[in-house]
Amino acid sequence: MDPLVIAGKIYSSRLLVGTGKYKDFAETRAAIDAAGAEIVTVAIRRTNIGQDPNQPSLLDALPPSQFTYLPNTAGCYTADDAIRTLRLARELLDGHDLVKLEVLGDPQSLYPNVVETLRAAEVLVKDGFKVMVYTSDDPIIAKQLEDIGCVAVMPLASLIGSGMGILNPWNLQIIIDRLSVPVIVDAGVGTASDAAIAMELGCDAVLMNTAIAGARDPVLMASAMKKAVEAGREAWLAGRIAKKTYQASPSSPTSGLIGS
């Protein structure tokens, strides 16, 4: 498939995945392999002081040498918390500066707070981060985030973890038409067809976590999502037929019928 370029780096997979909500690291790794994902999001959390230091860690299961880590700011409701969290992430990952910024509005909806998001994006971009930013499907805000210098804009399809799919394809279409940086649908995908629809709109990639980790068979769903993203991308490149609300058009010749 045609490659995806984010901040000058080339990726062959257009499916980005989260690493949360899995049964264990083995399942996490198996699902991510089945998804063929190259970029994986991780959260930054306090060490549990006193816990067994020898228990396996995410970094053992997903060696940073094999995957591009995308530390996020999940759980942050202010620009300041998000900025602090990503500075810790950069230190943690030896200066790795590709990050996912998300500043949420409230814990019930997890809908983005776009004002705080804009504020944090400005600071982080100035501070040298390569910011992939989670936002609403507001096309004006999406453009402002690009203008600030974010390397990818990631509008939601629907609420995080809702599995409702793409609620407003029209807004996404405007965003896709207007932005030059990659547009990645993030949050809300529930099943394979949702991912295909996102790609058919012309999105550059899809990011998901719950749709895979929460499926009855996460590894099989990961494979489904890989194929769906590729199918949607290829369909977009192939140029679908126009919709015809009425007059049907036969697929077989209309002449040469017997007894006619």
Binding site: T19, T41, A43, T47, R84, L88, A89, E91, L92
Partner: protein, 67 residues
């Protein structure tokens, strides 16, 4: 005796100590972590120099699964 606030919890230590020593104290030696002291990052390269003193607020974080 000094008190450090580590990840929001107060903890007693006999005396001020280097971040590096604190990390080993906490059994985090060799683990992939990052340390923030009073809101400022303490780079790994400085763990051997920077002291944690009474009343310091410390955040010590790791990467975990998340989406």
């Amino acid at each position: 005796m000094i008190t450090l606030h580590i990840n929001g919890q107060p903890r007693q230590f006999p005396a001020a100590l280097k971040i590096a020593d604190l990390v080993s104290e906490l059994d985090l030696l060799g683990k992939r972590i990052a340390v923030e002291k009073n809101g400022e990052i303490v780079p790994k390269s400085q763990h051997g120099n920077v002291m944690a003193v009474d009343g310091d607020q410390l955040e010590i974080v790791v990467a975990v699964g998340g989406g």
